[in-house]
Each structure stands twice: as structure tokens, then as C-alpha cells.
Assembly symmetry: C2
Homo-oligomer: 358 residues x 2
DNA sequence: CTGAAAGCGCTTACAG
DNA sequence: CTGAAAGCGCTTACAG
């Protein structure tokens, strides 16, 4: 494999000049440059990032660690759309001429130290630490010396992090429902210990308050268990309870629950959306677009979160964080309106066909 | 940051001895070893993979390239479960003490050369090239000099590849349906130009032949378009046509289509599975487990394919491919049986509750 | 605008 | 079982 010396010799210059042409770190005479470029092409020269890293002490590598990519699914379903998170991060990192190294804990927390060791051997310049769902985490103490941004999680030490705006997402959804003529809005929530649960319920209340509508607490029921065992039984009962409070729309904690609710409502002979509107959360397109009718859902903005996190990390590394920049950032997202929600009031503007609003 | 020299000095040995302790490439006296290990710990020593790579000329890096992770979704839905593929590959590669570098073409083919350049700069030892669906590809000529294994795709040059056994998967599904008392089995297929379509239809026919059942060709209809536009209209018509042939079960080209069929059948007042059984393909658990009733589906074994591909690549790199090893390997998978399929014949053993068979 | 020398931190090749 | 010397392929620091 050709080295910088081979190129230098072929072009009749010094290695340092070849280096200058590659890196553009100093002016090079046009003719010299062309000779070098020709030599590089002729020799099929590919610079060695190992040599570059060793000498410059900068690897150009960013590590992303996640148990998300492959949880064991014992307690949680695969959070597959988090791959959008990878995608968003990679775009930003690629633009900064760096490379993303991805490590997967396979859902086994005890593998994380090994993965971090690999990152260290590769001298990563910073780390993106991704959680499979919005939660609090505790970082291994060994991570304290590296620039790090948490994604979809936060810690007590106020490590910089990027979070979804769960409160705002549910607010936007419920606000939109009210604007479409709904007044009795049921909410089948996540298990109460989940961070997202409290935030979204708060958004649900804020939307009601803003429109001066009193909340009937019977409309809010837990619709999912921490473990998926007997999930359908629980959901069936929760659905029973909210139906007694006579809602016109049922908000579900996520799209998977909405999918189950579709089945249960149809078993009861309830037509969607004519007799009951349904909404989800996450906007997993694999689900939302293929359900019939299409599912209205609050977007969980994974790609944007990944991009924002990468951005923040690069600024941490570059030492260019803005003065008043908060450690915790929340990413907002619109609602994807589809046909599962009926606009009830004929006087309300027809907003109902596949449109997004913020 | 501590170097091997710092460790050597602290332990009172030569750098080469430290190297031997780390790599286990030669016997080291027990006492010496302990002194070295203690010094490494005390100095918080982390070896530099850049230095190691440069001197040894082996990077320990495997590149995975995929447009899959982030297609633009113009023509195809996100093939998100392919993340299982990453997971399967990473497990095997991690076991070989190597590190996986993942690059994402973002669905833009013109970005691939840049990504490959990055891989080359990092001196990857081999490449896994992943397609978003079972298809033929043409590799860039520049890839000819690197060990490479295609995953979910193949090329005319017979590059080693790992493919799903689509024929066998559909055979297993239809065979299982027949054993459960179904004789009139509808099949809503993929668009005909798709590689998987022909293979699966062949599996459908083989299962019928094996049981001596003549195939009514009206039962086979194309249920999806290459582009998702007007997909529901097409599916509605295709469903109409197969229903006229009076099936007892409808096989769908994939789980997403099955999800749409659930909705359409229910609009017609057809109960699943009491009046009509339904089966899918892919076993996307995010869909199959949350539909009501749970969807029977042929498994698309992404994790196994990733692992097999990594395995094959490592053998290519190590020069330890078996003598008669074929270039193309097909990965078989079972069917995940769930409640969407009714066992029709009371005399048939009850096989019907959430079991897997090969 | 260009170059000569040194060094990043390991492992190789050799010697004992 | 252990070590001294050299070199992997770049960029740094300096000089002109």
C-alpha cells in the first residue's frame, strides 16, 4: 500500500507538502498541488487514519453506546425506531469529518465496561450514550473524563443531555383534539413509574386547562404494564373503565397500544373513527401508516434528537458551547394527523387529512 | 496518558514484556506478569489501537455498509428490524476481538464512495454490505480488493453472500396451514419483480404439491405496489379478487400488509380468525405481537443472517473458508404461530397456540 | 511556499 | 523467559 513517502517521491516533493495538499493546512503552489494530486491518484493512495491519529493525537472518532439497539426484550419491546437516532447523529458527525463508532450492549449492562474499553483504545473524542426509553440513568464513574452527551436519558449529575419534549407532545396532541371538537378525551397511559407518563399527563392537563375544560379523572387509566405479560387483560379492563366515562377519542400511551386498542374496539363492534377516534404516541411509521385507518400519533423525534445530541457533543469537544447553554435540552415535535381522528364539529375547519401541525 | 514505556518503567521491565503480558503472545514469568498488571492498573493504562494498527498492519476493524439503516422511504418503508442484523453481526465480530464500524448511506447511493473511503483510511479488514430487502446488487468496482460478504443481496459476480430462505419460509408456513386443515389458501404477494416474490410463490406451490392439493391460481394476487401510493386501493381490489375464490386463510406478503388486511377485513365485518385466518411474513414483533389477534408470521431471520455473514467474513479474512463452502448461503427460519390462524379440522392436533415449528 | 528532523506508541524481527 | 533496536506512516515544531 502506497505511503505518503511514495507519493512525495512520485511528485518530486517532500512528505510534508503532500500532507499540506491533503489537509489544506497551508498554502501550496498550484502546480505543486496538481503534481501531488496526480501522484496520489496514480498510486491509489489512501492515507492511514492510524498514523494520523497517533501523531496528531486526535482520532476523529465518536463513540455511541446503546443497549437500545438490542435489548433482550424481556421487559421492553424493541425500541427499533431508535435507529433513526443513529442516523441523525451520524449525519452531523459525518459533516464534521468524524466517524461514528457504535457499540451495542446487547441489553446486558455488564458488557458496557468492555465496550467503553474498546472506545478508549480507539481514543474516541466523545461519547453519545443512548437509552432505549426516556429514563434516568447513572453513569459509570469511569466515564467522567470524556465529553459525553446523554440521549433519551438524564442523570442526577446534570450531564448534558437531549430529551424528547413529552409534555409538549401530548399537549399538542390534546390541544389539536379539542380544536377538532373533542371534549371528552380518554387517556390510556404508560405505567406510572415511567418518566414519560407524568410528563405527558401534565401535557394532557395543560391542554384542557388552556381551553377551560375540566378533566374527568375517570378518563385517565393506566393501559400498560412494565412487563408485557397479561398486557391485553389489563388493557381490556382499562378500556372498559374509560369507555364508561363516554369519551369521543382515546389517546394511547404509544402506537403499539393503539394497535391493540384497534383490535379490542373492533371486537366490541366500535367503528374507528366514526364511533371512536384513536390516537397514539411515537409515530412509528411501520405501525401508524399501515393501520386502517391511519393512526394519528404524536411524533417522537428520534432523528432530530440524534442530530441535536451530536451537535451538542461536537461543541463540547470543540469547547464552543454557548455561554448560557442549558445542560438539558428538550426536542419538540409535531403531531402526525391521520384518519383515526374524526373532526366532530362541522363548524371546525377541516384539519383532518394527513397534515402535520406544530 | 500513560504509554507502554511508562508501564514498563513502573514495572521495571522492557516495553516488549508489557506487550507480551497484554497480548499473551509469549510466556511471561508469573511474578513479572503480576508486576506489569499492577503497573497497568496503577497508571490507568489503555493501549492505543492506532499505534497497534500502524505497527502490526492489522486494524481489527470490520466495516458494515448499509443504506438500510436510513433509506429515504420514498419507495420502501424503513426496514427497521434490520437492526437485528447489526446486532447479530456485532456479536460475532466482538467475539473475534474486532470492532464493527457502521456506515450509513442514508439511502443515497452517491454517498457510498465517501463511506468506503473512510473505511479504507481506517484499514478495515473486510466489509459487510447490507441491502434493505432481498435483491440483486452491483458492487462498485473499487471494492474488488477487499474481503466482502453481501447480506440480504447477491450479485452476478458470485460474491459470497447470505440470503434469507424465502422459498423455505413460505413453504413452512403453507405446509403448516395445510396441516391445520386449510385447503384454500389465498396469497397476496409482493410486486412480481421482487426477488422474494418468486421464491415465496414457489414455496407456496411446493407445499401444495407435497400435499397433493391443486392450486387455484385465482387465490394468488399481487397485494402491494413498488411505491406505497394508492397501496390501499390496490390491496382492496386484490382482496376482493381472492375472496371470490373463497379461501379460509389469507397469506400476506409481509406483516405490514397483514396489518392493512386486518383493517380491511374488519371493515367488511369478517372476524379474524373465526371467519378468516390471516398470516404475514417477516415476524416484525412490533407488529405481530401487538395486533389483535396476534399475527402468525414466517420469521425473517435477520439476527441469524448478520451472525452468519460476520462468521463467513471472518473466515474469508482468516483464509479458513471450508473447501466446498458455497458462495451463497441461505438462512432458514421457523414460523411464529399465533392466534390469527384457526385450526380448522377437529381431528388435527391442536398446534395453534403461540408455538414455533421449523 | 517548501523541507529536514523528530516523534507519536506500539509490535516486529532478532538476539540472547 | 526477556530485551535492544528499528520501523509502521503520518504530523508537529521548526527553519528557511
Amino acid at each position: 500500500m502506497a505511503t505518503i513517502y511514495d507519493v512525495a517521491k512520485a511528485a518530486g516533493v517532500s512528505p510534508k507538502t503532500v500532507s499540506r495538499v491533503m489537509n489544506g493546512d497551508a498554502p501550496v503552489n498550484q502546480a505543486t498541488r496538481e503534481a501531488v494530486e496526480q501522484a496520489m491518484l496514480a498510486l491509489n493512495y489512501v492515507p492511514s487514519s492510524a498514523a494520523r491519529t497517533m501523531r496528531s493525537q486526535r482520532s476523529g472518532l465518536i463513540g455511541m453506546i446503546t443497549g437500545a439497539i438490542s435489548t433482550t426484550h424481556q421487559f421492553e419491546d424493541a425500541g427499533l425506531p431508535e435507529i433513526y437516532l443513529v442516523q441523525g447523529a451520524q449525519r452531523v458527525i459525518g459533516q464534521s469529518n468524524r466517524t461514528l463508532l457504535i457499540a451495542d450492549s446487547g441489553g446486558q449492562a455488564d458488557r458496557i465496561p468492555t465496550l467503553l474499553q474498546t472506545f478508549r483504545e480507539h481514543r474516541v473524542e466523545g461519547i453519545l450514550y443512548v437509552a432505549e426509553y426516556h429514563r434516568e440513568v447513572t453513569l459509570p464513574a469511569s466515564l467522567r473524563d470524556l465529553p459525553i452527551v446523554l440521549v433519551n436519558c438524564f442523570d442526577a449529575a446534570e450531564t448534558p443531555c437531549i430529551l424528547p419534549d413529552d409534555e409538549g407532545g401530548q399537549f399538542t396532541l390534546v390541544d389539536g383534539l379539542i380544536r377538532r371538537g373533542h371534549q371528552r378525551i380518554a387517556y390510556l397511559t404508560l405505567p406510572e413509574h415511567q418518566v414519560a407518563c407524568g410528563l405527558r399527563v401534565a401535557g394532557y392537563h395543560r391542554a384542557h386547562a388552556q381551553h377551560g375544560i375540566a378533566v374527568d379523572e375517570r378518563l385517565i387509566q393506566v393501559g400498560a404494564l412494565p412487563s408485557p405479560t397479561h398486557e391485553f387483560d389489563l388493557l381490556w379492563d382499562a378500556l372498559d373503565r374509560v369507555l364508561k366515562a363516554e369519551p369521543t377519542v382515546i389517546c394511547c400511551a404509544n402506537d403499539k397500544m393503539a394497535m391493540r386498542v384497534y383490535g379490542l374496539l373492533r371486537d366490541r363492534g366500535v367503528a374507528i373513527p366514526q364511533q371512536m377516534s384513536v390516537a397514539g404516541y411515537d409515530d412509528y411509521r411501520m405501525i401508524a401508516e399501515h393501520l386502517h385507518p391511519g393512526l394519528t400519533s404524536a411524533v417522537l423525534p428520534y432523528a432530530a434528537m440524534g442530530a441535536r445530541a451530536a451537535d451538542k457533543l461536537l461543541r463540547l469537544i470543540g469547547g464552543s458551547t454557548k455561554p448560557g447553554e442549558p445542560n438539558r435540552e428538550h426536542v419538540s415535535a409535531p403531531v402526525a394527523w391521520r384518519d383515526s381522528v374524526l373532526t366532530r364539529d362541522a363548524n371546525v375547519t377541516q384539519l383532518n387529512s394527513r397534515r402535520r401541525e406544530t
